[in-house]
């Protein structure tokens, strides 16, 4: 687990209380380069968010070659069909997906390859253009031709 915040101390105590203190690493705040290295070393990124407007970290993990399990309550899952997805409350399925990625390298590889292909089609320019197009449609403008239609 990396990053810092209000919950960090509480999470450390919880890990101890659960008897998994030696299995969970708390790395604290990491610089961007260090985050990428950590992602690349990981077998899997799990994003079990209760609610996540987007979830950029999932795309960063894929870029680093790491498959992702996404909460179905995240925005990123809409653009990343090639991912494992789970309702945040469905612990059994979440455990199954984590085990499957660790157990089935072929699954992990396909998730990364296909996910990266989807990632390659996502860009800020593309997103910006779609917003411009949407506004243009509503305003009745023909952006390409530069004239009102």
């Amino acid at each position: 687990m990396c990053g810092s915040g209000d919950m960090l101390d509480g999470l450390k105590r919880q890990a101890q209380a659960l008897g998994i203190g030696d299995r969970v690493e708390f790395r604290g705040f990491l610089a961007p380069g260090a985050v990428d290295r950590l992602l690349a070393q990981s077998s899997l990124l799990v994003m079990p968010s209760v609610s996540e407007p987007f979830g950029l970290v999932a795309l960063e993990a894929l870029r680093a070659g790491t498959p992702v399990v996404l909460s179905r309550q995240s925005g990123v899952r809409e653009v990343l069909g090639h991912s494992l997805q789970v309702d945040f409350w469905d612990h059994e399925k979440l455990a199954d997906q984590i085990l499957a990625v660790l157990r089935l390298p072929v699954l992990a590889r396909q998730l990364v390859e296909e996910g990266r292909a989807q990632l390659a089609r996502l860009s800020w320019d593309e997103s910006a253009q779609r917003i411009v197009d949407a506004y243009a449609r509503v305003a009745g403008l023909d952006v390409a031709g530069g004239t009102a239609t």
Binding site: G81, H82, E92, D96, L104, L107, R109
Partner: protein
Amino acid sequence: MSLDGCFYFQVHQPWRLRRYPYRDVGHSHDYFDEQVNADILRRVAQKCYLPMNALLLELIRQHRPHFRVSFSISATALEQMAAFAPEVLVSFRRLLATGAVELLSETSHHSLAALYSPREFAAQVRHHRAVCRRLLGAPGPVFRNTELIVSNAVAGQVAALGFAGLCLEGADKLFGWRNVAAPYRFATAPALAALPRHYRLSDDIAFRFSDRQWAAWPLGVERYADWLQGEAAALPPQAGGRGFLGLFMDYETFGEHQWADTGIFDFMRALPGELLRRGGFRFVTPSEAARRVPPGAATLDLPAPVSWADLERDTSAWDGNAIQRAALAEAFALEPFVRRHHARHAADAARVLEDWRRLLTSDHAYYMSTKHWSDGDVHQYFSPFESPYDACINYMNVLADLAQRVGAPAPRPV
């Protein structure tokens, strides 16, 4: 010029898996979702099997002895009918009793065994015959492989089992400029008559019938009969004045894919009468069609498998991605262990063999297809899973349990 028309309807239902979490491995050997399978079978029985069987019986009686149809029914579908809707079996028996209906042979479990294990393929063909005999009646001498998957190798296996004919997709990439209605045999298995599906005229009924964007909508029997007459007129000289028209489709087309309110039942009610009235058209069973193919007919060479699936007409619907190939390899790798377990007459031997075969049903691999996945295509329409990856994980969990039951080593990571 005249045509021999052959209706063949595919009836298949897989044993769908229940949600099987990894923690059940080694603890629970119940893999299949009884409730979902029963619900689906009963729904399809009400919407399709029962009303369509009744209609066909009516048509056979009305046009006796001229109207004929044929069915290929997987053993997994037959066993589900026996368990959940036995009245469907009764209605099929009534149809067969007319003598105007023929059953095709296929693999018992609608499997891809022809591509992976000739031994299991032959065993499933025998098993299918036995289940048909027990529940309906014996199938005829023509074979239809899962999803019309045919290659030179498959044709060789089918010929070795003594069949007289083999159905296949009349794919453009196979026939090219050649007329699909002419008589053909297989280059590597000349004992087998080739019975090609006319995909355009079949799909006009199976896929396009209710499509309001289609130029021919709404399709009436007069127009459809015109098209069939057009095929007859276009026959090449080597057809000897008589061509073959394979109208092969999923039986669920009637009432399930095309709902009753599209008029599909009315269309079928009127079609035989219209064709027989015009003349130059005869309904035949597959065995009659196979007998009409002369020994010296032109031959078809299929180095790579051709199927009736998707636009690609190949096997990529089942083995197009890495997880599908891994799952299929894993499932077929259990074969020697399942056989050894069976030979030991273990108490659960019959159940283990049946469970394994149910897992070989091609539908499980189909649910893992990621072809055109982002478009939410036809694969997902049929899938009980939220995604191809969920389908894969669930299937691999079940396989892990089956491997333990037969004493197979844990699968090597691939």
